[in-house]
């Protein structure tokens, strides 16, 4: 029941022209973070007393959490459903989730007024607050993600600890420590994997509960008591498309062979999942009779139609087509549409739908808000690239690979 890891650190040149571009974007974000820390939130954002939450909460946090759903959805299918053919995609998905949540947490710290009190929710509880639930779950889940990643670190370094100079004497103890850690993780990993899935389901849905308390300030097209369910279902449906998109981009970027077989197997789940989400979204609209708002031509109705058409209907049709399932490029496009749809949905929920009753001007994010969000994404991509080159994350092509209890654990 044990096999060899066929994941390996990718060998490639780190700095390419694209990477330089990303570094510049990331550096810009660092400058904006500094400005925010020195001059306050008001100096870099267009937030106001009428619009307290903007792009950073809507996209960096709202969409960030949703788009990191690949982590728990693949863990669920590969480990809980124990489908071995999917083990090769668990590590890339885990890494994305880990980086995604790290940036969600960083964005929250930038956005809250008193970033140095970020630990307060750990000891000051308010069980009535949906935000409290999201905060606690995200903190615990982030820890779980790091624990799930540890076996990859031990795998990389066991037998390879080679410190320079006088630190050499530490090589053996560190190696020994890593081996003990490894054994400990090996026996307890299922506990963390299940916890990760439960925590994800909880906070993905509670993220939807967040805006319910805004009541009539939220446009009726989005304001519904089943928002938590819609958020959860959309997180289910966006998890695999994220994995598919990433696999495609990594294959292109590192010139690897497309893992067509695994990917199209995975893609088969997307259609039904997206279909369920679509059914609930439409059902909710019919039951609450909010379709009347679609007859008027407003920003809200336009955004809603774009979200529905390009984010759900078109990709749903694509994922149900046999020829699309066979083509890496078509799958990439369809997955990108789903991702766009969920990102757009979070943006709409947190920003477009939010109509403060008293306001002078409609909120539009400032250039700095955009630059920070873009810079953080660039940062994440850079770290992803660095991690797959340092750690054994991406699997070699033959994944008949004997497997394992946990894909995150592939050692003998």
């Amino acid at each position: 029941m044990s096999g060899h890891s066929n994941a390996y650190p990718i060998k490639a040149k780190f700095l390419t022209p694209t990477v330089w571009g990303l570094i510049i974007l990331a550096a810009t974000a660092v400058l904006i973070v500094l400005a925010r820390l020195i001059f306050g939130i008001g100096s870099v954002t267009n937030l106001s007393n009428s619009t307290p939450w903007g792009l950073w909460i809507g996209v960096d946090v709202g969409a960030g959490v949703a788009l990191a759903a690949g982590g728990f959805t693949t863990a669920a299918i590969a480990h809980i459903m124990n489908r071995e053919e999917f083990h090769s995609i668990v590590r890339p998905a885990l890494l994305t989730a880990l980086l995604g949540y790290t940036f969600v947490a960083s964005s929250v710290m930038i956005d809250i007024g008193r970033w140095y009190y970020i630990w307060h929710p750990l000891i000051m509880w308010n069980g009535n607050s949906a935000l409290f639930e999201v905060g606690i779950c995200v903190m615990i889940y982030l820890t779980v993600l790091y624990i799930e990643f540890l076996p990859i670190v031990t795998e990389r370094f066991i037998g390879h600890v080679n410190l320079p100079g006088f630190l050499k004497m530490l090589n053996r103890p560190i190696d020994k420590f890593l081996r003990i850690l490894d054994r400990g993780l090996n026996t307890t990993m299922s506990f963390f994997i299940i916890a990760g899935v439960v925590l994800s389901c909880l906070h993905q849905s509670s993220l939807g509960t967040l805006m319910i308390i805004a009541g009539p300030k939220m446009h009726p097209l989005w304001q519904t008591p089943i928002l938590p369910l819609l958020f959860l279902l959309s997180a289910f449906s966006v998890g695999f498309p994220m994995v598919i998109m990433e696999a495609y981009i990594s294959a292109k970027s590192f010139k690897l062979r497309h893992e067509t077989e695994v990917i199209s197997k995975l893609a088969r789940f997307v259609g039904p999942l997206l279909g369920i989400y679509f059914a609930f979204k439409i059902g909710d609209m019919v039951i609450r009779e909010t379709f009347v708002y679609l007859t008027e031509f407003t920003l809200a109705s336009t955004m809603f139609v774009i979200e529905l058409l390009f984010g759900i209907i078109i990709p749903l049709r694509m994922f149900l087509s046999r020829s699309v399932l066979k083509s890496p490029l078509a799958l990439f496009i369809a997955s990108s549409l789903v991702i766009f749809g969920v990102l757009f949905n979070r943006f709409n929920n947190f920003i477009i739908a939010y109509n403060p009753p008293f306001t002078d001007a409609r909120y539009f994010p400032s250039i700095y808000e955009f630059l920070l969000t873009i810079g953080f994404i660039a940062f994440e991509v850079l770290l992803y690239r660095a991690c797959v080159m340092i750690f054994p994350v991406v699997s070699k092509e033959d994944h008949q690979g004997r497997s394992t209890k946990y894909a995150i654990r592939w050692k003998v």
């Binding site: 106001s48 929710p121 000051m124 069980g127 009541g215």
Partner: protein, 297 residues
């Protein structure tokens, strides 16, 4: 294993079903904190207010905000715009002209309504808000992390944030002069009001008083006490000569301000039973699958 087996499909179904169980359907309302019967309130009679804005001045002084000279407040040009309370002025007065009769405009003082069941209190991630026994909804600077969820939640769009401050920005809103009240003093705005448009007292008595006024002068008052039932009731109550929506008041339902959000929250987390059950279920599914695979090998 190229197609989904019926067995794994059923398992997926069970997993999905248990998530659905945790949805709003089995939601229960959260417990409502019982408020002391003698909690205070203020009745604002907008038919009496003369728009002198002395309350704005007194409020700033009572809260150590830059207030300027009291004569500055005689300037009526500010009425050209409809203003909102913010981090520099916790209360403001707006003027609404009466179409066809400019001699009798209506002046409306705006500040925190001090809800009976406040949305800010329910929303706050760290529980920094408290509904005091006096009726005041107060904010605790030692807890607040500055997330501004209270501002998202407030149905009256009242809490303001000090966006310009890099360190220790505060949530600013009327605190019903809780410190003055504890010292046996009146709220600053009530104390200074020269027209006696503001009446401070027990909320229950103010409601009786308001209805009595409407009963005695039906031609003077629009037959409604704003705040008696809105979002489950507020400590501040208003009387007006015309339809409240014409005077910048929001049309809000009578359900408590936190709405269904708390019920959903408590539905998902009913004593941690749904999450633990879900955990156990996933553990079971995982175990079954592992054994199945072992059997096949």
């Amino acid at each position: 294993m190229s197609t989904i087996s019926r067995r794994s499909f059923i398992k997926t179904g069970i997993a999905a079903g248990s998530v659905m169980l945790a949805s709003p359907k089995d939601a229960r309302p959260a417990e409502v904190k019982t408020l002391p019967p003698d909690r205070r309130g203020v009745l604002v009679d907008t038919t009496v207010c003369i728009g002198c804005r002395r309350c704005e001045w007194a409020c700033k002084n009572a809260h150590s905000l830059p207030a300027g000279d009291i004569t500055d407040y005689d300037d009526e040009s500010v009425f050209a715009n409809k203003r909102r309370p913010d981090d520099k002025a916790l209360t403001i007065v707006n003027r609404y002209e009466k179409i066809g009769d400019e001699r009798f405009p209506t002046n409306v003082k705006i500040q925190c309504m001090h809800c009976e069941q406040p949305a800010c209190l329910s929303a706050c991630i760290v529980g920094a808000f408290k509904k005091d026994d006096t009726g005041a909804v107060v904010w605790d600077t030692d807890k607040c992390i500055g997330c501004r969820y209270c501002m998202v939640a407030c149905p009256f769009q009242i809490p303001a944030f000090e966006y310009e401050k890099a360190l220790d920005p505060k949530i600013m809103k009327c605190d019903f002069c809780i410190d003055r009240q504890k010292n046996g003093e009146l709220p600053a705005c009530v104390e200074i009001c020269p027209a006696e448009a503001l009446t401070f007292g027990k909320r229950s008595e103010l409601i009786t008083l308001a209805h009595r006024k409407i009963e005695l002068f039906p031609e003077r008052y629009y037959n409604k006490v704003y705040g008696e039932a809105e979002v489950g009731g507020t400590s501040w109550l208003y009387l007006a000569s015309r339809e409240f929506m014409e005077l910048g008041f929001l049309k809000l339902g009578t359900n408590p301000a936190p709405g269904v959000s708390e019920s959903i929250q408590h539905g998902i987390f009913a004593y941690f039973v749904p999450p633990i059950a879900f955990y156990a279920l996933l553990g079971g599914v995982m175990w079954l699958n592992k054994n199945r695979n072992r059997g096949e090998e």
